[in-house]
Symmetry: C3
Subunit: 258 residues, 3 copies
């Protein structure tokens, strides 16, 4: 975990344009604010270009996608590419329906993502590796490294396969992260908020490997930290403490303060 990445986010308060799903908007906005970024969740196609002018990064998450929102996502992503700011794509549930598969294909045809992140089932689907999923959840356990390599290569991007162990492939190297806690699987939007934190970390001047690894390590460590709070008695009470933990300094987090 690179303190510099986290501190840079807090010094610059990057504005992240979220085109994300309705289920997690509030949680994501609060999590990013706590971490040190600024969310803007404009979703109209008409203003996607104007927002891109102001934004420092763009997050595209298709969790509750509609046809109308797809257009705004593509416009925002293209504008971000032109401006040279990072784009994170989170293809939530892409394997579940033809509509999502087609939408992600359309996005990938027009937008160059800096990072594609998702669970193994989602990213496997993007590169035609067989995988079992249930709705938006990924089941089974397989070769995450193969998936990460193939996504990075196919889409000329950095791939982040989330799971018990997160696997990051920048195209050349594979790095892994083991921080995190199973309780993240019992709350909605844990992966979605990670996409937002990732987008913020990608706006710093550090190498992408440092940025991505720091984002996932920090996120998982914050979850471990929050779950140890004696006031946490289940997923409901975990949420506010997790959001609190996202505001800590790297040192506080590692010492286990709070």
């Amino acid at each position: 975990m690179n303190k510099k990445v986290v501190n840079s986010v807090r010094e610059t308060s990057p504005l992240i344009h979220h085109l994300t799903n309705q289920v997690v908007m509030n949680f994501t906005a609060n999590g990013l604010l706590s971490f040190g970024g600024l969310p803007i969740m404009a979703k109209a196609e008409e203003e996607a270009k104007d927002i891109a002018k102001l934004a420092d990064g763009v997050l595209i998450n298709i969790g509750t996608l509609t046809q109308q929102e797809l257009r705004a996502m593509i416009t925002a992503g293209k504008s971000a590419n032109r401006k040279g700011i990072p784009v994170v794509l989170d293809p939530v549930g892409v394997a579940a329906t033809a509509f999502r598969t087609s939408a992600v294909n359309q996005i990938l045809n027009k937008v160059q993502p800096t990072v594609i992140k998702g669970n193994a089932g989602e990213l496997a689907h993007l590169v035609q590796i067989p995988w079992e999923t249930k709705g938006v959840e990924s089941l089974g356990d397989g070769n995450g490294e193969e998936i990460a390599y193939k996504v990075a290569e196919t889409y000329q991007t950095t791939a982040v396969v989330t799971g018990k162990t997160d696997i990051i492939c920048t195209g050349i190297n594979i790095v892994k992260n083991d921080t995190g806690h199973p309780i993240l699987g019992k709350i909605t939007g844990a992966g979605c908020l990670l996409g937002s934190i990732l987008s913020a970390c990608l706006t710093t001047k550090d190498p992408i490997e440092e940025q991505v690894l720091t984002a996932v390590e920090f996120y998982g460590t914050a979850a471990e930290h929050a779950v140890n709070n004696s006031d946490v008695t289940g997923p409901g009470s975990f949420i506010p403490h997790f959001i609190d933990a996202l505001s800590l300094d790297v040192d506080e987090l590692l010492r286990g303060d709070l």
Copy 2:
């Protein structure tokens, strides 16, 4: 309360397709995850059929309905009927506007709900029994049993009239539930999340009377349990503890653990 119903949900993690209102999506998803189900909140008509193929149940809640979402609700409901999985209809605020009344009529013309749940004002409106409402709230106190019977008979469904006492009519019998707490009236989406828990319970192999009664009893008992937590000082702090309580075993809940 039938432990078998709750345990079955936890063993099978049923995937519930939610076509629900934007106000409660996050709360509902977290509540269902805590209880043991899996939410998917796809709302595009284009993918409603594909999602139905994966889903174990469908929840239709019209709280922030638009014309576009209505089409997705009908497609999802019809697909669920064909597949033989349960459909719960929550006609939120149906009495408030002609748009909602017409929407619910369209749904009921094309979709056979397994359960219709709502407050007395909403269900009274479906069977033309006079009732006073204020927005989405039901006022007054009347013959809930008559309403439940008439809804069950008219729509060949199981009716759940929620209130201080919940009244359930499977068409033949009336059963009642007195668990719950007035604080549920001070948070948004208490009824909506119950619809989600109900949908999950309907996916087990138990008799419908057991499923429905267990859902409402468990839900009300979880509220009573949470409100007794010494950290709860109002509706805001009640919410996380209520979500926690939804994850408890029936025995823990009845013993008052936590």
Copy 3:
């Protein structure tokens, strides 16, 4: 702070029709319920008139505006004007895009707001006073009084410029409020929920200066109260305690109970 205003809201439970952004719906609904109002968040244009018939006030917040929602906002606002109930306009991020600027102009051409509230950057933009903003956030520090006067005069309304010091101009007088806490800037929707509390206070029979000042003073004092709770360790744990504090009596709040 005028106790009468707060008590009147709690006696009458005003129904506030919210046409608001998707990020804050749940937080806003829970905050208003805790304070004593009733939220209804219908967003379809088709039912905007019917909802206005039931409503005691209307809140228009353009945070995640779409073209479709704009039509519903205008219909709801016009219906409220005809009925003589208060309308609050919160032009979130109006300076950020041409789409928002145009939307707010359309609203202001057809709807007479009782109150326009926003941060200095948003309200400055409405009266062509230069101001620096970042996304939906207002930066810098300038002449809030000039902005408030000019908005009140230009739009024949009461202007509320929120910030470290809130500045209220009813057209004649300027009044100020210094309650509040910086943590409100670390959670999403703090301004949005204030719009909702304001709408509820505007439904009482008190003079508008009393209504508006009470709303902002109460709101800021509730934040101060919540942040002092020993269970609050960051913005995540602040939220539930803030919602709790909104339910307190004015006396409890001022004494610092809980």
